[in-house]
């Protein structure tokens, strides 16, 4: 099984995964460059980057059950790739929040994180992902 699938993965699955992960970023950059982010571009970028982070997170978390169901052991490497991609999306999302939305205003950020539950949850999720990303 493994021997027959391996070259196929190398040739197609990985490029397809790269395409999947890179397309939303290119799309966002394209929209920004051509002024298609609407009246509130910062909000739009925040929303899009956040939503893609969640999609990728759901994708990474779906890999393990999928392996159990199908016994496709080779999927484990795709899980690592998806997990790291999720982390970089989350990092981008955080940078947009800190740098563009809040413009590095530390006291405002601290207040926001402590006061608003959805920001608290997002920040906590990011912090929890850091060790996972470092240890891959």
């Amino acid at each position: 099984m493994l021997a027959s699938v391996e070259p196929y993965i190398k040739r197609w699955i990985r490029p397809a995964m790269w395409l999947l992960v890179i397309t939303p970023i290119l799309w966002m950059i394209w929209q920004a460059v051509t002024g298609q982010l609407g009246a509130n571009p910062i909000e739009m970028l925040q929303k899009e980057s956040g939503e893609w982070t969640l999609r990728l997170l759901a994708g990474s978390l779906a890999v393990t059950p999928l392996i159990r169901m199908t016994r496709w052991g080779w999927l484990i490497r795709q899980r690592r790739f998806l997990g790291l991609s999720t982390f970089f999306y989350a990092l981008g999302h955080l940078c947009i929040y800190v740098g563009l939305d809040q413009f590095f205003n530390v006291s405002d950020i601290i207040e926001d994180v402590l006061k608003h539950r959805y920001i608290t949850v997002g920040m906590l999720a990011f912090v929890l992902m850091v060790p996972l990303a470092i240890t891959r």
Partner: protein, 312 residues
């Protein structure tokens, strides 16, 4: 003996002291710049855009007018969808003539009026107001309309009337957003009668020198510039006078988030949004929010003696 060697660092390469002392900010700014250049030329472009238009003496003189494109493409009008860009798309074919307005409750003569009869003879004014959304963004919009005071006076409310309620059209065939139960339809909003009779309150029929586009609440859009935008009912078909505080849409759904009064107040936060600052559409940095949206000198007296933290 000490022999001075020439400096091996060219003076041109030495960081100026002022930059060194300010290095943290410098790095911050450089980082911000890099990020901006990387991801949001759109935002910068919007920032660089120059806006034109003369403003009336209505408190918004120092504010640049938001571009008509932004003000007509970024709307909260759930009757036409919950996305900011949905109303512009879904209201395209919305017809606002013929249009009738029912007037009832504590009023001398309850009646149904054709809109053009209702407005006939009232003087149409251009007024530029700051518009502050509860979601912490804002615009500056040149409205056109009639003074709400003049309109309501014409309807002759009874002396016993204390509140006035405004109801938006209910018609799911023309307002596709009403096919989903995101809010109890029809949308209603209300003001205490003395708020409604304040000279700043406006019944808008137009903006940017033209008639109102449907996504902005045509043909009648209530404008109360010192309150959060959701107080301004759109596409109004009914005006009712009463002596008890009416239930209003957002307040009914989430009373802890949306108060009846909804006066712009930087000191009272919404559970999801800090109200101390706002993002002015078209600008990059957030700006401080002013009490009563900058109209405190004109309207604060309406609320004398009221605890504005409790009555948010």
């Amino acid at each position: 003996m000490l022999i001075r060697r020439p400096d091996d660092i060219k003076s041109s390469e030495i960081t100026p002291e002022s930059v060194y002392l300010d290095r943290r900010n410098f790095v911050g700014r450089a980082g911000a710049l890099a990020l901006s250049v990387l991801v949001v030329p759109g935002a910068l472009q919007a920032m660089a855009c120059t806006r034109e238009g003369a403003s009336e003496d209505t408190g918004a003189q120092d504010d640049k007018i938001t571009s008509a494109k932004d003000a007509t493409s970024y709307n909260n009008f759930y009757e036409f969808g919950t996305g900011k860009e949905d109303p512009a798309e879904n209201a395209k074919d919305f017809q606002t003539r013929p249009w009738t307005v029912s007037v009832d409750g504590m009023v001398k003569t309850p009646a149904r009026y054709d809109i053009d009869v209702l407005l006939k003879g009232l003087s149409v004014e251009d007024r530029t107001y700051r518009h502050r959304c509860v979601e912490a963004w804002s615009m500056v919009i040149p409205w056109r309309g009639v003074s709400l005071k003049d309109l309501l006076a014409r309807l002759e409310p009874l002396p016993s009337a204390k509140f006035v309620e405004f109801t938006t059209l209910l018609d799911p065939t023309r307002m596709p957003g009403q096919r989903r139960n995101v809010l109890p339809w029809p949308y209603t909003e209300a003001l205490r009668l003395d708020e409604a009779m304040h000279p700043l309150a406006l019944m808008a029929t137009g903006m940017y020198g033209k008639s109102l586009p449907p996504q902005n609440g045509a043909p009648l859009h209530l404008i109360v510039p010192w309150k959060y935008g959701f107080k301004g009912a759109k596409s109004i078909v009914r005006i009712r006078f009463t002596d008890t505080m009416p239930a209003t849409s957002w307040n009914t759904v989430k009373p802890n988030e949306y108060g009846f009064w909804a006066n712009v107040n930087p000191e009272v936060d919404h559970p999801r949004w800090t109200q101390a600052k706002e993002r002015r559409i078209g600008q990059f940095l957030r700006i401080p929010t002013l009490p009563f949206n900058g109209y405190a000198d004109k309207v604060a007296s309406l609320y004398a003696g009221m605890d504005l933290r409790k009555n948010y």
